[in-house]
Every structure is written in structure tokens, then in C-alpha cells.
Symmetry: C2
Subunit: 151 residues, 2 copies
């Protein structure tokens, strides 16, 4: 006998549409977050972030990176000094820091659930853009509870 899952009726059309709209919004910002996060990582770990390295690490052509960086520049997140590398604006830096914090929290949470490292990292890449603040808080709470063995 199947656990009664409160066979959910459909939400109102408006609520339903709002969920999808939030979804599309998240999709739109995901690329920007991935780029600034990677640029920040490269700056921190390698001392510089070159377009050619972004292309390699994102698995896209250099032409695609040029175009995407153009949009990020237009949006005030990134600055470029050709042949010198890419840099984050203040706003870009803030976005990267927030993205990294989210990313790391999701990874820690998935590891705590028992996932192997590579899967946790790979899944976090997708999940980090689609979880609400409330979910992130719940993840953090889970991790905190878990590190407090006694009650």
C-alpha cells in the first residue's frame, strides 16, 4: 500500500506560472554566475583568468567566451585587459562570492548525504542555481545538526 502522498492537485495557474517564471529567471543568471565564479577561482588559484582558460574549463570555443564576456562587460560584472586577463568589477566580485558560498554549501550538503566528491561537485554545478534561500538555510541546518552528535 503506497504511502499517502497527498496526491497533490495542480496549483493555480498563476502560482504554477510563477514557479516557471522563477525558473527561467534562474536560467538567465546561471551563465553569468558560472563565469564570474570561475574567473574568481582562476584569479585566486592561478593568479590570472585568461579567456583561453575559461574556454577550456567551460568546454566551449574561444569565440563563445568572447561573446559571453562581452555580455558580462555590458552588464558591469567583468573587465577585460586583452592579453592580460579578465577581472571582476566590484559587483562581479560580490556575485562570484555569493555563488561560491552557495556552491560550497551545496557541495558540503551533498557530501554529507553520502555522495562521492566528483558527483557532489558535478551536481552542485547545476543545483546551486536553482535552490532558494530557504533551501540553503535548510541545508545549513542539516549540516549543523549533523555536527552536533548529542541532542
Amino acid at each position: 500500500m503506497r504511502r499517502a502522498l497527498a496526491e497533490r492537485p495542480l496549483p493555480s495557474a498563476d502560482d504554477h506560472a510563477a514557479r516557471f517564471a522563477r525558473q527561467r529567471e534562474a536560467d538567465r543568471t546561471a551563465t553569468a554566475e558560472d563565469y564570474v565564479e570561475l574567473i574568481a577561482d582562476l584569479l585566486r588559484e592561478e593568479g590570472e583568468a585568461r579567456a583561453v582558460d575559461l574556454a577550456r574549463r567551460m568546454g566551449v570555443s574561444q569565440a563563445t567566451v568572447t561573446a559571453t564576456i562581452g555580455r558580462l562587460q555590458r552588464d558591469g560584472l567583468v573587465e577585460t585587459k586583452p592579453y592580460r586577463g579578465l577581472f571582476l568589477t566590484e559587483e562581479g566580485g560580490r556575485l562570484a562570492a555569493a555563488a561560491k558560498a552557495r556552491h560550497d554549501l551545496v557541495v558540503r550538503f551533498l557530501l554529507a548525504l553520502g555522495l562521492d566528491h566528483e558527483t557532489a561537485e558535478a551536481d552542485a554545478e547545476g543545483v546551486e542555481h536553482h535552490v532558494s534561500e530557504k533551501a540553503l538555510k535548510a541545508f545549513a541546518r542539516f549540516l549543523a545538526d549533523r555536527e552536533t552528535p548529542g541532542r
Copy 2:
């Protein structure tokens, strides 16, 4: 003093690129999954799935739905009988069932973590397309453990 998080070095460029490639792949299939899942829900709950209702529930224009349904038809997932509604092919039905199973599991998991119903549903909408089978298994394990209070 910050918990030592094994300040992860960057993955190899190839591994990194593979993660992003998987990500882009998931993005490509997300729309199809959302549509067939919604069509299946409408067929089950309302007896029919009309393009106009999809437009309302997805929060997009009817023209967008026409175009998207065209792609789903081309891909063998959906059939249309104009003014009679939309139907799923066998493959479309399988995809919808898989998507719904994933969706429901994610919702149950998020509820178990303490999220309210609306947030769980909204977050699931995004998360369901980006979690691996391994993560889903971990979610299921968590739910199972939780329902077995004793050890």
C-alpha cells in the same frame, strides 16, 4: 576558526569542462521534461491538455507554446489534435513518468528537510533537472532512514 574544508584545488580542465557539458545537456532537456510532465498532469487531473492551458500554467504566450510543441512533436514526444488537445507518445509518456517520479522524490525530500510546501514545489521545479541518479538515491535513502525511527 573556519572548519577546514579541504580548500579544493581546481579540477582538471577536462573534468571541469565535462561538468559544464553535463549541465548544458540538462538545460537542453529541461524544457521538454517540463512540458511533458505538465501535459501528463493535465491529462490526469483535468482529462485533457490544451495548448492554451499550457500557456497559462507555464506563463508564456500561446505562440511560444505552439513553437515548443512543434519541437516536441518533431522529437516524437507529443501528438496534437488541434482543438482537441495534446497527447503524449509512448516515449513522451515514459519521459513524463520519469520526470514526475523525480519531481515527487525531490519534493518529498525538501519537505523532509523542513521546507514549506510552496517552496519545496518551486525549488523542485528547478532541482529535478539537475540532480544525478546518485543524488536521487541518496535522497531516497535519507527518506527511508528517517521513516525508520529506531536504529
